[in-house]
Symmetry: C2
Subunit: 285 residues, 2 copies
């Protein structure tokens, strides 16, 4: 068995320790003679070390293997001063991170504990074939249908929308408002049709964008600020590095992230500015 500290060192040698490219995964598994699924499980303690559970101090970590062969880590993020339903779970983080890196399908996931019910519901939106193998604490892999039998999902509503779609990318250069609009277009919002996106600019001039990811059971949805924060954390940035935030919403939408996102930003990055645009016309599909 490889030492977790060595694995950590390998991960930290990348600019973004949350994403391990397919070539590195292949090299590691060959050199250490372990399977990709075993590697996933050995990465969990490192993922846990990256968590930001500022309320509970309870660190959750997952490692997800994408169809491309790359591995994505996920951690839990908790936000003091906000209600607990603003929490981002490690499984949500890992899935959103994989989606942001162009992954269109997930093969396996290892975690420090079995996913909670909220995460099983979130995963049910993603794993449309029920083939994701879930590993916990060195046990045999389980599928989501065995962890969430008689699940309620997109299929119950007759929807065919795929969750893991390639993201739209800006033709550089683009303003922060334009980046938020482009992120909105990559939303998964088949239930409200209310596309929305967020773009965050940090003090070093980097931009992180997030698309709204909706769930058939509503509550496990991730707001566009949530997914933008996932991109920011995956790049090793602090919340207080955020200087500007733009939320783009759709005209005539039944829902809005504005007030809650503005408050969340105020709690984690008091110095950041917040602006909203309605650059997605009504009826955009």
């Amino acid at each position: 068995m490889i030492l977790p500290s060595l694995l950590s060192a390998v991960c930290l040698s990348y600019s973004t320790p949350f994403v391990i490219p397919a070539e590195t995964v292949n090299t590691l598994t060959e050199q250490i003679s372990i399977t990709r699924e075993e590697l996933l499980q050995q990465l969990v303690p490192f993922a846990q070390s990256l968590a930001r559970p500022l309320i509970s101090n309870y660190r959750v970590g997952v490692a997800l293997l994408g169809k491309s062969g790359a591995i994505y880590l996920g951690v839990n993020l908790e936000f003091p001063g906000m209600p607990l339903n603003q929490t981002i779970h490690a499984e949500q983080f890992g899935v959103a991170c994989a989606r942001q890196h162009g992954e269109t399908s997930l093969i396996a996931m290892a975690g420090s504990a079995a996913p909670c019910g909220h995460c099983r519901q979130f995963l049910n939106e993603v794993d449309d074939e029920g083939t994701l193998q879930i590993y916990v604490a060195n046990t045999e892999g389980r599928t989501l249908p065995s962890l969430l039998p008689a699940a309620f999902g997109p299929k119950n509503l007759g929807l065919q929308d795929k969750f893991m779609i390639p993201l739209s990318l800006p033709s550089h250069p683009a303003s922060l408002e334009e980046r938020a609009r482009i992120a909105a277009l990559s939303s998964h919002a088949p239930y409200t049709l209310a596309k929305s996106g967020v773009a965050l600019e940090t003090e070093d001039g980097k931009v992180y964008t997030g698309s709204y990811l909706e769930n058939a059971a509503f509550n496990p949805s991730l707001s566009p600020l949530h997914t933008a924060l996932i991109a920011l954390v995956a790049d090793g940035q602090s919340y207080t590095s955020i200087q500007r935030a733009v939320l783009c919403e759709q005209r005539g939408a039944k829902i809005s992230h504005e007030a809650v996102s503005c408050e969340l930003l105020k709690q984690i990055a008091p110095g950041a500015s917040f602006a909203k645009t309605m650059a997605i016309p009504e009826g955009t599909r």
Copy 2:
């Protein structure tokens, strides 16, 4: 089989159609020669008719049998203008309603569909013995451990706090602020220790209170405004009847419901006033 319309008429003959007293449950089951579990299932369509799904128009209804023999209905509540994670699910409504009426244990639940993962996680906090029988669409009853195997709950954190506790009651007369404080003391908040409560006064002078109900997986928690709204809806009131709202929080708490509750209230009852007190001293257990 009894006609649903007759059952609806029986329910509507009570001042609060969401609560059917034990004596009535006994009378009904004897006169129609059905079991209490069959009655539960026949009440589901009526519960669905009471739902307020203002975003999806997807009506969810449940009927819950308490240890006392009384039955409680639950419906989904959706709030336009807010993020989807503000949604209250029918199972959450039914459980909170039963708790508000002094029920200390739940025996069975029937629903229009199997609970989603988010609700299974919520129920896992409530059903500490794993004995709740769950009926869906005339199938055999299932237990929560079969619907949410390898669940994460209070026991994993070594907590013994019981969810279904009898509520504290005010010694009349009490101000709205005092009612909010008393509701806060009945919180289930073992994870943040941040007790909080809400009291709502309607235009007819009635008061509805709600206690904060926390979940081991954080996100499926119900805010005190949510549980106060459940009490209000269970009494057949409209949101716009709310004239005053008071939120009571605990000094030094790591979390706060203030901004999100204030915004939710603004969306559903634009004419209502909102005030906050910090009447629970730091360290109150």
